[in-house]
Symmetry: C2
Subunit: 187 residues, 2 copies
C-alpha cells in the first residue's frame, strides 16, 4: 500500500537495549536513542509509542538474548552446579558483546520504585521471581535440603546476583571467578 520502513525494529531495539544497559533508564535520553538507533523520534514513537515502550521492548529483547542461557539453565539436571554455571554464563554473555556490564535488569532495578512506574517495576519483579523460582527448583534437586534451607539459599543467591552484576562492572575476571566460587562454597 505504501512506503516500507527503512529500519528493522528488532535491530534498532537491540541498539536501544545496549544504551539502556550501559547508562540506565533515566540518563538515557530520546536524543541519545535517536542517535544510537539511527532513526528519528517520529519513527521511534510510531514503532514503540514512548520512551517507556522502548525500554519495555528492550527488556523483551534482553529476555530473548539471555534465553539461551535460561533454556540451558531450565533443562539442566545437576542442581547446584547448574546455578553456578548460570552465574558463569551470565558473566560470559556480558563479556561477549561490547560494553554491556552487569545485568540489564539488576543494573536498572533500583531506578524504578513500585509507585512511579508499576509497568516496568512489575516486569523487573517478574524477571527476578523467575530467576528465584529456577534457583529453588535446582536447589530442590539435591533431595537432602529441607524447604527452609532452600528458601534461605535461593534468597542468598538472588542477592548474590547483585554482587555479581557489580563485579562485572568493576572487578577483574579472576576476582569475578573467585567471587562466584566463594558464593557457592556453602550451597
Amino acid at each position: 500500500m505504501a512506503r516500507k520502513k527503512a529500519y528493522i525494529e528488532e535491530e534498532v531495539i537491540e541498539k536501544a537495549m545496549g544504551l539502556f544497559w550501559r547508562n540506565g533508564y533515566e540518563s538515557t535520553s530520546m536524543q541519545m536513542l535517536e542517535k544510537e538507533m539511527g532513526i528519528n523520534k517520529f519513527s521511534i514513537y510510531s514503532s514503540f509509542g514512548s520512551k517507556q515502550g522502548v525500554f519495555l521492548e528492550s527488556l523483551k529483547n534482553y529476555n530473548k538474548k539471555i534465553h539461551v542461557i535460561f533454556d540451558k539453565f531450565k533443562n539442566a539436571n545437576n542442581g547446584v552446579q547448574d546455578i553456578k554455571d548460570f552465574f558463569y554464563d551470565s558473566v560470559h554473555i556480558s563479556n561477549l558483546e561490547g560494553n554491556h556490564k552487569g545485568c540489564l535488569v539488576t543494573n536498572t532495578y533500583n531506578e524504578f520504585s513500585e509507585s512511579d512506574d508499576p509497568l516496568i517495576s512489575n516486569q523487573m519483579a517478574a524477571f527476578m521471581d523467575n530467576v528465584k523460582t529456577l534457583f529453588i527448583e535446582k536447589l530442590s534437586m539435591d533431595g537432602t535440603k529441607d524447604e527452609e534451607t532452600i528458601k534461605k539459599q535461593a534468597n542468598f543467591l538472588l542477592l548474590a546476583k547483585h554482587g555479581l552484576a557489580a563485579a562485572t562492572r568493576v572487578n577483574t575476571q579472576k576476582e569475578i571467578e573467585d567471587y562466584i566460587e566463594m558464593t557457592f562454597m556453602n550451597i
Copy 2:
C-alpha cells in the same frame, strides 16, 4: 556586617542527603531539593555552588553519619566478627531513620560512570576502598589466613555489601539476617 542566614547548612544538608538516599542523584531535582531543604535555589547555590556540590556535601554528611559505625568498626579487635557486626550495624542504621534504604553510596554507585562525573566517582571509589581496607585489616587479625585468601575474602565481602544494600530495599528483616549469616559461613 549584614543579615544572618535563616538556616543551618548542616541541617539542610541532612535533609538533602535523605532525598538523595531515597531517590538517587539524577531523579532528585533542584525543585525537590528546594522543598525538602526548606530554602530556595539562591540559598542552595550560595551555600553549595551546584547540585553536584549539594551531593558532595551530602556524601560528607553521610560519612559523618556512619562515622559512629566506622569508628566502632575500626577500633574493634575481633576480626571477622567485627565485619559481621559492621554488616548488622549497616542494616540497623537504615532502619533507624525514615525511609532511607540500603547505603547511600552503594545505591548511587551505578549512576556515575568514571567519565561523566570524576569528582563524585572518585568520592565513591574512595569510600569503597576505605571499606575494603578495613575488611582486609580485620581479616588479617586471624593470623592463619594467607594474603591471597584475605584479598579474595575482602573482595567477596565488598561485593556482598551490594547484595546487602539490595536486601534492605526488598527483603524482610529475617531474610536480611539469613543473608548476612550465609555470607559469613565461609569467612
